[in-house]
Symmetry: C2
């Protein structure tokens, strides 16, 4: 593993994994390795997911045999979809114990099915001369495979016979490294010429981290509007950046108005948080050239891309910058003014009483410049998409591949492991789901401020058609759990604050404690009404504005 360049290991204790973890602990003495121990494999795997999301490098999960390995399944499904290179090392019983009733011997071969892109099982105890060379090569190959596009988890299965205690103090083997090769493509010059001067929009989706500064620089230099997903990490107070496009297209049918319809959309990044924006793409695709750039494994569930460019994004951005790609100035101005209008409405509206809607804005104004903000599914990320303006120095994270509400606490803690200013915005249900994840904060003294919006149940469901099934709603969807978060804080040694208004929330954010739970009590019915009222007012405002500015 060391030769493959992995530095971070999340280990869940067990017996079968003994040879691997003992040797790792031994190697950690003379090598720059980070070993994390987490007894709950589900939490451990999401924690590793968070580490890798943060550090942009492969990390290894190591567990013992049996259901320990199956506990990883959810985080692996998430990693597959959010393209995180988890290297999953499952230790196993030897072949001669399979299928014959031996304890703790489940079938671990290709355990994660299509959620891992590659699989090997090494019988390290085979008495064959070439085994060491083979394993050295194959380990590097599979770790490299995990990092190649589409980035995805891989599984290495290691069956071990007893005795499980390895020999210590042996020398590290000398090994040859495999070089990673990057493919390079140049874009057709004609293609760039054909774009320039037309009504252009850049769409920056989630996970454009590796090139977000270059993309923003292009937009700013060339005055091209950027529709910025909350997870793009491009959001900031810059005139070209549109942070409220979801609000616009949700409340006004922009696709019908040719004044606001782009000729070309250049799309970067993954699946958008904003469903209305996705629907807008579908509505305009017959009249607009929608170019999907390589990222996200070329996937586009909106089926609106009518052109796909398989090229390194940085190369493309560089070429577009050099060639001086421009957009039609009137179109840019019109679109940005519309966005500005919505921003004004929002500012006025949010001077009203304290509500869930206000939280993204409060956090935006009061969190440190370089905060890591982890957003839970499902309401927090949506509210942030709508009401968060952003700072370029901040990083926003979310498990937005499989969109689970599981493992959120652990993933946030993984993200937080090497930083000091970390925040998690989460609902009561998702926090409960991965409450065990808090143990890692306690054991490793990790810094995290958790803002839990406690509306006692699943807030998202009030917005969905299920809300009409009143008879079953609370039992099947609302599912109030009546959790006492003060007790939760006590159990894990967190400080606890209750915030019933804006001033209390701001005050509790600014206390110097580094492990806090701030509970904001909310009400699902009121929250639904707040969102509806906001949208109704905006709808009116947008219609008037467009009518008067035609």
């Amino acid at each position: 593993m060391i030769v493959s360049g992995i530095k971070d290991f999340v280990i869940s204790p067990g017996s079968r994994s003994t040879p691997v973890v003992i040797l790792l602990a031994e190697m950690a003495k003379n090598n720059d390795l980070n070993l994390f121990i987490d007894v709950d494999e589900r939490s451990a795997s999401f924690f590793g997911l968070g580490l890798s999301k943060k550090n942009r490098r492969p990390i290894a999960l190591i567990c013992t045999s049996g259901t320990a390995a199956t506990e990883y399944a959810s985080a692996i499904a998430e990693a597959k979809l959010s393209q995180v290179p988890l290297v999953v090392i499952t230790t196993d019983r030897p072949m001669e114990l399979s299928n014959i009733g031996a304890p703790q011997a489940i079938d671990q071969m290709k355990l994660y099915g299509s959620n891992t892109k590659d699989f090997v099982s090494f019988d390290l105890q085979t008495a064959v001369d070439t085994i060491k060379d083979y394993v050295t090569f194959e380990t590097q190959r599979i770790v490299l495979a995990a990092q190649k596009r589409p980035i995805a988890p891989v599984q290495i299965n290691l069956p071990f016979r007893k005795p499980l205690m390895p020999e210590l103090n042996t020398e590290d083997p000398i090994v040859k490294k495999i070089a990673a090769i990057n493919s390079e493509t140049r874009l057709n010059q004609k293609f760039i010429d054909h774009l320039s001067g037309r009504k252009l929009v850049i769409l920056a989706g989630p996970e454009v981290k590796d090139y977000h500064q270059e993309l923003l620089a292009l937009a700013q230099k060339q005055n091209i509007p950027v529709i910025a997903d909350v997870l793009s990490n491009i959001r900031q107070n810059s005139p070209e950046v549109i942070t409220n496009f979801d609000q616009i297209v949700k409340n006004y049918d922009l696709s019908e108005n040719s004044d606001y319809r782009p000729d070309v959309v250049i799309r970067f990044g993954g699946t958008l948080v904003s469903a209305p924006t996705s629907r807008w793409l579908q509505a305009i695709e017959s009249e607009t050239e929608i170019i999907n750039v390589a990222n996200n494994g070329l996937a586009d569930h909106t089926l609106s891309s009518n052109e796909t460019v398989d090229i390194d994004e940085l190369d493309l951005i560089e070429q577009l910058t050099i060639e001086g790609l421009t957009s039609e100035p009137q179109f840019t101005e019109r679109l940005l003014k519309l966005s500005h209008q919505v921003a004004n409405y929002q500012t006025r509206y949010l001077e009203n009483d304290f509500s869930e809607l206000m939280i993204p804005q409060i956090l935006d104004e009061h969190l440190p410049e370089d905060a890591n903000i982890f957003l839970s599914n499902s309401m927090p990320v949506r509210d942030f998409e709508n009401f968060y303006q952003g700072k370029e120095t901040r990083q926003i994270y979310c498990n937005r591949g499989a969109n689970g509400i599981d493992g959120v606490v652990s993933t946030a803690l993984g993200v937080s492991a090497f930083s000091s200013d970390n925040y998690l915005l989460i609902g009561d249900l998702a926090l409960f789901h991965d409450m065990n994840g808090l143990m890692m904060a306690k054991r490793y003294d990790l810094s995290l401020t958790i803002i839990v919006i406690n509306n006692n149940g699943g807030g998202i469901f009030s917005f969905l058609p299920q809300a009409d099934a009143k008879e079953y709603f609370e039992q099947l969807f609302g599912t109030p759990q009546d959790i006492d978060f003060d007790q939760v804080a006590k159990l894990y040694g967190f400080d606890y604050y209750q915030a019933t208004d804006q001033a209390e929330l701001i005050a509790s954010l600014s206390t110097p404690k580094h492990q806090k739970i701030i509970e904001v009590t909310s009400d699902r019915i009121k929250n639904l009404q707040d969102h509806r009222d906001f949208d109704a007012g905006l709808k009116k405002e947008l219609n008037n504005y467009v009518k008067n500015n035609h």
Copy 2:
């Protein structure tokens, strides 16, 4: 589902599963159905596992799409190995949203690989005339398949398009039921004749519930010794029942002494809790006829069975009883006396000071006659194997298929759902692992007394070779979590007791509260020494006894 005979449903809320759960809630009005709602799918699946273990009938798990479905993986692996007929209903995004970046759309086809024995995906919204008949038939077939030997979980995947709200108040469809067919075989008469009068032992492993009374009656009537695994549920104060065979063969090599070596072992049930007994089988197999009876899918990881009989156990027991199978009386007497000797030693020894060793005996003496006792892996089930005598009216449970320490609380609660006297013996680490499971006790007011042996970490590892890796032991294996169980009890509304000696443990067991956590603080090093001391004394005693009674 109703037509397939399923009565128990464990539902984890979500959006995609709306059509199924709403219709179920509607049907529950006029049908005798039990719906449980558990927001944590991992806990939910283990809870369902427990329900099915208790009720001996298939239960359905229902979840939404995405990682929710992967959360079931561990309980399904356990169910596969412990032969529990879980019917796993995963709702899914429709085909047209797969592999193209749609949110929450993971690949759910055959998600659990070889841990489910059968799989179907129904497109219920297909506009084909025969779809209703097909689904009705296929659902009954797959639920029946789950219950046939080898009993195993099955997956039904249900992709749904929006809108997700079903039509209510429609009539139940009229459906034809499929009849289950039992195969019957008669045993060769010669075979039975050949067994009678020889040195016979019956070995009753785990999960012989369906015929444990008949098996015990046979042994009692014919004076055949029964080596009773703690999970056989045959253990009780009856002269033929040997409850301490693990202690005997661990401390004295019985295989070398022909006085104590049976000619024939008739083996029922699954993989034994006792590893020393398994090793004893391996040691005697060249000179002993070891007959493996159908159960447990014919599996025998000891590879010691030299004969396998594929027959219904009840039929076999009935035939053996009718034909008057006997054992050599001197052999029976000799073996039972040896066991009695060990029991005497144990009684004398356990008058010493309070220790983990004493707990099974204390529970045996002070729990109600009809208690359900759930044993966690990994130390509790081992200590019970050694130190629990038993009552025929009690039921002992354990997740002893994959032997995980995950999901133990939820499984125990599932077992407890329809009974009042329920007990869980568990270590601190396993309790932490599935602490979320306690939410079900709170929500459904389930009765459970948890005796948690808190030795602050993984007690089992002190007994394994890893204990020699002193430098890494606490970090990698001991893993102390410093959990405050008083806080845990407060969080979930349990009463909390601390028991530092025998009297306190007995007193706390007898309080009338129905949701309790009783914490017994222990020490891993002392516990190891206690076990070693016990064995050393017994070894001496056994050697003397056998020498003097040759």
